[in-house]
């Protein structure tokens, strides 16, 4: 959105310090926090960062935020009803993820963890292709090449090296793109993540490190991982690090765009710390009440990434109630489609576990698969036996 000088001037200081009027609760994030839209939905300017979005684009951004949240809520409900084995909720991190996703250009490649459902949405990954993983049907059903969105990676940190290697490949191809590596605050302690910083710096690879500091690694607060703000880690490796309000989708978009552009133009890596909060449990198997206070969550509720966009859209008159109603309706449809698609999702073929172990199948595994099929068919019709046996066992 283009800003009137008035807007700008009025809150430049706020923008620059990251402390927004009437919201001191960001103080702990420090003065470096980059923010363009306050929790109250006011635009603030920043000396180094800005975005210029049309009202249409702002509405599209809101739509993505709202739909992503609905996907997450629906998946959580499906897990509760036994349709999914587990679900890793992104509740509260929609701004960081949609903002980062919007910053990606077609040729860029994203390397997610297991929580980037919001980024996936911006890469046109069908939510059902993610849900199939959490349902236990596969390890992710989307095409990582076609969508330029890598498969989810569960082993903490390893994907940061994959992103750097992919970026080194882009370098060698003379390609225009960059790689965007997602990881969490806890992941910053892993050797692989720090090695990826060494490599990115030494080869000045076109990669951006996007760390969602949601304050927790399961039960462990950020203090268990670092004594200093995470974005400062980059200093030790010779490239810039910035901290952005992860609940401010506009600031995240601006900061990530700038970093990706720098990477694409040979200026090397950037570390982005998106300062946010995990509003839900680590996963549906987790019980946060054992390790954190509800009050903490209350404070963060006030910084909701979606509410502030809605507030701005309303204040600026860029959207009316009809618009919000239409999004609501679209979300309902999406949720219904997800529910139906999940419940009707077919189980994988048992023999499929032998098919993709290798690109060039081995005679040994082919035989093993054949024996399996034969043995399995000996229970034909009596699938219950198998099942029960499995359960008893």
């Amino acid at each position: 959105m283009s800003m009137s000088p008035g807007e700008t001037g009025s809150s430049a200081r706020a923008g620059a310090t990251g402390v927004t009027p009437g919201d001191s609760s960001f103080a702990e994030a420090g003065p470096e926090l980059i923010q363009l839209l306050t929790p109250e939905g006011e635009l603030v300017s920043h000396p180094d960062y800005s975005v210029d979005l049309s009202p249409e684009q702002l509405r599209a951004l809101y739509r993505d935020l709202a739909l992503v949240r609905r996907i997450d809520v629906e998946a959580t409900a499906l897990q509760r009803q036994g349709e999914l084995g587990i679900w890793a909720s992104l509740l509260g991190q929609e701004g960081a993820q949609v903002g980062a996703g919007w910053a990606l250009e077609e040729q860029d490649m994203a390397f997610p963890t297991y929580r980037e459902h919001g980024v996936a949405w911006t890469r046109n990954v069908d939510p059902l292709d993610i849900i199939s993983l959490f349902r236990g049907c596969d390890n992710g059903a989307w095409d990582p090449i076609a969508t330029k969105f890598n498969l989810y990676t569960v082993v903490i940190g390893v994907q940061c090296l994959h992103a750097v290697g992919y970026a080194m490949g882009m370098q060698r191809d003379g390609a225009a793109g960059a790689a965007l590596a997602f990881f969490g605050d806890g992941a910053t302690s892993q050797g692989d993540v720090n090695e990826s910083f060494v490599w990115a710096s030494v080869f000045s690879a076109p990669v951006v490190f996007f760390c969602q500091n949601n304050q927790y690694a399961i039960s462990e607060p950020i203090e268990k991982q670092s004594r200093i703000p995470l974005f400062q880690r980059a200093r030790g490796f010779g490239f810039p690090g910035v901290r952005v309000d992860g609940n401010d989708v506009l600031a995240v978009l601006a900061v990530t765009r700038k970093a990706l552009e720098a990477a694409r133009t040979g200026q090397g890596p950037t570390f982005i710390e998106a300062y946010t909060y995990r509003m839900g449990a680590h996963t549906t198997s987790d019980d946060p009440s054992r390790y954190r206070l509800a009050s903490e969550m209350e404070a963060w509720k006030l910084k909701d990434p979606i509410e502030r966009v809605k507030a701005y859209l309303v204040r600026s008159g860029h959207a009316d109630s009809a618009f919000f109603a239409s999004i609501e309706a679209e979300a309902d449809e999406l949720a219904a489609r997800i529910r139906k698609g999940t419940i009707e999702m077919p189980d994988p073929e048992p023999a499929s576990m032998f098919t993709h172990v290798y690109a060039e199948q081995t005679a040994y595994l082919e035989d093993q698969g054949a024996e399996f099929a034969e043995y399995h068919s000996s229970f034909a019709g009596a699938d219950d036996d198998l099942a029960t046996a499995g359960q008893e066992a």
Binding site: G85, G186, Q190, S219, Y291, P348, L386, A389, G390
Partner: protein, 327 residues
Amino acid sequence: MPAPTSVTLGKAINMGLRRAMEEDPKVLLMGEDIGRLGGVFRVTDGLQKDFGEDRVVDTPLAESGILGTAVGLAMRGYRPVCEIQFDGFIFPAYNQIVTQVAKIHGRSQGKLPMRIVIRVPFGGGIGAVEHHSESPEAYFSHTAGLKVVSCSNPVDAYWMIQQAIRADDPVLFFEPKRRYWEKAELDVTAEPGPLFESRLVREGTDCTVLAYGPMVKTALQAAAAIESEGRSLEVIDLRALSPLALDPVYDSVRRTGRCVVVHEAPTNLGLGAEIAARITERCFYSLESPVLRVGGYDTPYPPSKLEEDYLPDLDRILDAVDRTFSF
């Protein structure tokens, strides 16, 4: 003397850890989320509250860091008990375990004992996502300098964890995660047998079935199921995976003439391979059929919807037993 109480396997380990910490101030626990949360399986529940943050250490998220610092603590005279959150996440620590933990005692000609226990919830059957259901024990049993054990029931769990902590060598302690909720009567005043021994858990005459960890229960179910058909299986819980304690196994196989080894780990180069090779070397003329192996297939652990097809179960064990008779 407290009366025997019924406890789950997970709780039994918790009690064993508590007792070990009470008896030796040098024992400390390290791991991810083991403090306030009590571990994702609650095995360390309440221990940080009672022993403090210096003895129940919530570590940064780095397994190599956990094992590497445990080595330093062991050099300083501590007995670190490290929790690896899930089997599939032990690999970042593999270098420290295989090149350091396993070798420092030998490297120092005995001057630097590595009194470290590495607790690993292992195996499948809980409907989890990738890397949460694996059985990596063979990677460690093949490594000289390490000792490897696995418990199959609450009573063993309680005693074996304490014995592992008291041992002066590094011990990989594999916990059958799908059995954490199984219950048994535990008498904490009893006298446990030695740690590195296998145990006969069911007598039989026709075929010897070897299992450890989660598969012991499955093997016993198989023995019970086939009894009606008049076939008598002898079941041995191996307990020790390195060193293997096979003397009772040899005796059994010499009597039964048949043997089936069961584990969830992939069959190729799994424990079953070594056990089959040794039994054949020692009992060659007693064998009516080759030792057969029932293991996971030689694929990555599949998505959970397929794990029942992947995991050895009652039927696959009995199928193998049948084959030892049709040889």
